[in-house]
Symmetry: D2
Subunit: 385 residues, 4 copies
């Protein structure tokens, strides 16, 4: 018998990580709350007791559901009658595996921040753990939650672009353009190989770019050639990467990720060129998608407009011209997760159209990072994927 | 003694209106939920019993807090120990007065959709009711919740633009460019003078534009001259308005509102020109504010960037480049309301910087609409404000 | 017999005005030269002898074709066997009539800068002079020379927009936002009623905006209501104007012209909304025209692209993506003039599609200015056109 | 004695190539004419007699200065007292060397279209010929003629960007996305290795991109790794290229050139990121340059505005807001050439600030193409430059 059968109402959610001073934990909480599908009821928000308690109180977690130790949390929540049905994992990369494993093995669904893990071996172990479990595993590659990313995917899939020839994806930021302040925790662990893994910018944002292009194009990768750099003195992990891409069937592309591109905030862009049309989408203005048929005029598809397909419209909440943004897209991943979790209660199939980044996507992302690092060490030689 | 003294945790919220098929009710619910400051616990979502019950269930309101009659709701909630501390009113304009009055007179804070009322006499009555009450009255002119609107206001106030000479504000949509379908409830009441009031586009969106310019510039209006039209055959209320503006001190401007501007979705724009600089902001891309000093280069101020002032940064949740949108701005009005409501529990003053559209703003908005209508009937003669 | 019958090769052109320190004279010379259809051979570039000679030498006019006095120039050129076939008049507004008259009465074609004259009575006199003459009169409302303005006109004419409901045109600059330096000749005469005429911004740029909307829409004006201002202390002519527009058949609109809009360079924009679609064009990015069908997506029509009509393509010189600008558009007016002048040699009809701003457009422009001034003096009362 | 000493007035110009049906010849003619500095007086516009004669007549070249054979033209013009002082060479790449050599050896200045030649050995031979000659050699990498490209160069040079870390340059078109029509002459020779040389897109537009980045950054190239493709069936030359770049001193970059990017017209973009600021310029909207200091707001520098440096202002003709475009930029190369040619008459040094793409730039461009081809054949191995 399915352990969550019979549950109704908002999904009881736990969280590991995301205490005071963290950034992404707060994002997950807003995303979980936005549509009212989840209720945060338990958490091990920090491994420091005081901070764990203060953080939990701040976000409205009851004292008796506040934990210091995530293993303790997993054990106890699994026993509680109203224990959490899902847990959000928002700890540094190297902790994804140990934390996720504890919940997966107790049948609690996992919603995990990206990249999947710091190393490919960890990623594979986590995949095994997920496969052994009845629980779902959702990876928050949140950019695929944007309605117009879904629109792009749908249009590529139905052939609007013809055969894809070129994919240019880039993700440029500048927040690590200088050595971060000592108290910048987010920067600290992201630039520490022990916590972040082999990739710096490639892991933190390159995996997003990779996942985005994979999601939208569906192209099967063949090989990559990467030239990675660490521009900031003393930095060991890459803060910039240029990657050339080859796909099965002959499509080619490039991926550029950078955290030292002065003046760029969170500039994720995707361009795809096929035999029939080209397409462009930019995260910083996510409510517009440009499509230009070969020999025709550029058409600006706006979110939720009449021109959009059902697959993107189901992920919008408000009419066109009322901009949706980062939180709404992130909430869409949670929304998809919620639908999957509810379906899982009765072992029902996923509702039509529901999709989310999976553990397989996560393994692929870490494999991409490791391939980049390997290629770069070999002077940008081609490395199979 | 303050009746809500001692309350803590999320503010218990009720809602009147916003049942199935409505649009703005859902927006209010997301806005209230986004930061976790409110919890929707009671509602009279429809005056039709079946619909009221189904709607309430859908949004997670318990059966014993589901009402058909808003008066009954106001009475009972006022008596309950854990009764609502605030109510969101999302009914058609003509119902704002009667509904709000019931809650105000029982000391329950009111968060009311705009325009304040359908008529100026209603607006004045509601103002009286609000003044008599200890409860707060918050009007959801949500566009002033955008961080960069706050930024614009702060910069105008500190003199970056010098003396203001010109204000050009416009709000263009096209969703009423044709006679709406019979089952379009939102269109139906907005084009019905009995429910909407004297203004069509002027009331529905002109008041937003007016409120926005008033908020950002602080200019005191002197007179307006309006030329209103009803382009769609059979329509009695205006669906387009051109308004020339005169302000005390010599500034001049124009306001254009339209619901028949083919191709425009929700295109609210504000431009201000002073002796020292000009400024532009557009709601459809709300994360950028352009400021051009006379003789200098245009600077693009992005939301949450280092260039922004504290007054706008306190209303952002996430770093620049991660777009915030309509819901986040709307939630900022709820956030300001929450801070005011919490301060009211102990009769504390408003925390510094907290501000929201008030009943006075609401009266002014309806006065603006009536002035437009009066001017237009007199062939666009100047009418004092 | 037509006096220029038998001529071939570049059209011999004279110029009155446009000496050193002037701006628009140089623009006319580039425009005349760009396509090789004209050759500047004579000129009275200044009424000051030294400056006239120095200016003429600088632009390659031979000494024996250099004049101080435009009447002398008209007389002598009319007698010369290889005398000028056309003259460009680029003097301040109040001199357009006397100068043009001298050439018109001798059968020399006139290409005259805008506005037609400083006063409506002058405009009418000039019209009479033009009608009496066999020579052509071309007014350089150069913005109608942009290919995508022609495209807009063609699309409106063929009904792509349906019935026009709204026209919003604006022309904003900031170069007169402060009192100009004493040695700024261009500013000096433009702010001097004796030279500029009754209108300041309305005359200098409002007439361009008016001509643009008239050209593209073809709407017949009914009445206007104008509120004009002189923001800069000591200025007598308007430097900003807000104008509400009524057209026959029910279309409405606004025209805003300003030379004190801080941060605006030469920001001429046209927006038209019909029952079927809306359209937008902006001079500062003239190679794109946006059209949005009601209920459809915005289409970006680029200059010279496959989507354009023959009427706009005939005025482009280079493939899309290679931006054309102000000079090319201005040169298109000269190009149309050249075709007309060549046709006139044999009294042939104008080649199909050739069109240019006429003396009638010029009279209308000055009438528009005077109507604005009259309306504004009467507190923005409606004035018929 | 300098053979052109004593000449004055417009520079007498000849042209080889550019007959009817050609595109770039017409561009050169407009560019030469725009500022009145050149006069086209002789030409061998086609090697087909009828076409040579018809083309020459069409552009106003006298019969006795019309040639079929460029060698004949070089010989005779060199003997004429009023023979051409400079010649524009606008023939397919493989003919640049033989044509240019004839004029160079007779002391006639050469203005040559790019790329310099089809092969590197030809390029070196042409360099030798130019070095032996007293005549100037100007290569029309026209994009460096844009004022804001000069502005970018000046700002990089004075350190506004700090140390350059990254350069991303791209040039995307789609006009060769399908096999061209049989009668498309421009496409025909560009896709024929015998005429175009080893590079397709790399030669035709990649060299522009390369020259642009070299001009603006001044970075010394170290090595490149290129992955070239020929997407259109049957095409032998590359129609797309991805190139990773390494510069001396540690800067890195990418260059993407494509003639199969569906929906792109002439999309040349340059982005540079340094330790202090980032910069972006896009050819399709060439009147704006974006610069973002690290930690600051993006500033939009407009052409001819007060913010620009003298080096870019000297190449503009008209105030900001009046867009200049492709022809004006091309004319700037001709303008620089004119100044150099005039200085050469008296062996005077180049006037300050005058600069143009040289034979050395041309050799470097062809070397870049050959390096790309070589690298690509070796599976994108790094190739030194």
């Amino acid at each position: 018998m399915n352990r969550f059968e019979g549950r109704s109402g908002p999904i009881r959610l736990g969280m590991v990580g995301g205490g005071q001073g963290a950034m992404i934990g707060g994002v997950h909480r807003v995303a979980a709350r936005l549509d009212g599908a989840f209720q945060l009821v338990a958490g091990a928000l920090s491994s420091t007791e005081d901070k764990a308690r203060a953080s939990a109180e701040e976000v409205g977690i009851a004292e008796d559901r506040t934990y210091i130790d995530y293993i303790e949390m997993a054990k106890r929540e699994a026993r509680l009658k109203d224990g959490v049905e899902a847990v959000s994992i928002v700890v540094p990369n190297h902790m994804h595996l140990p934390v996720a494993r504890e919940f997966l093995k107790r049948g609690i669904h996992v919603i995990c921040d990206k990249p999947l893990t710091g190393t490919l071996s960890d990623a594979k172990r986590l995949k095994t753990a997920a496969e052994k479990s009845d629980a779902l595993f959702i990876l928050t590659h949140n950019y695929t939650g944007y309605p117009l990313v879904r629109e792009a995917q749908a249009r590529v899939a139905r052939g609007d672009l013809g055969d894809i020839r070129l994919v240019q994806v880039e993700y440029a930021q500048d927040w690590l353009a200088e050595a971060p302040d000592a108290d910048n925790k987010q920067a600290a662990w992201r630039t520490d190989p022990a916590k972040s893994g082999a990739g710096g910018a490639t892991g933190d944002i390159g995996t997003h770019a990779w996942n985005l292009l994979r999601f939208v194009t569906g192209l099967a990768p063949e090989a990559i050639a990467a030239d990675l750099q660490s521009f900031v003195p003393g930095r060991t992990l890459d803060d910039n990467g240029h990657v050339m891409l080859r796909f099965e069937g002959g499509a080619r592309g490039t991926l550029w990720c950078s955290q030292v591109a002065a003046g760029r905030e969170n500039d994720l862009r995707l361009r795809i060129f096929g035999t029939r049309a080209g397409l462009e989408w930019r995260q910083e203005n996510p409510n517009a998608l440009q499509i230009t048929p070969l020999g025709g005029s550029t058409e600006i598809i706006t979110r939720a407009s009449a021109a959009t397909t059902a697959g993107s419209r189901r992920l919008t909440r408000i009419p066109p011209g009322h901009p949706e943004g980062f939180f709404e897209a992130f909430a869409n991943i949670y929304g998809e997760a919620a639908q999957a979790i509810r379906a899982a209660r009765t072992d029902a199939p996923l509702p039509e159209g529901v999709t989310f980044p999976s553990i397989a996507d996560g393994v692929e992302g870490v494999a991409f990072v490791e391939a980049c690092v390997r290629s770069s060490k070999r002077n940008a030689a081609w490395v199979s994927l």
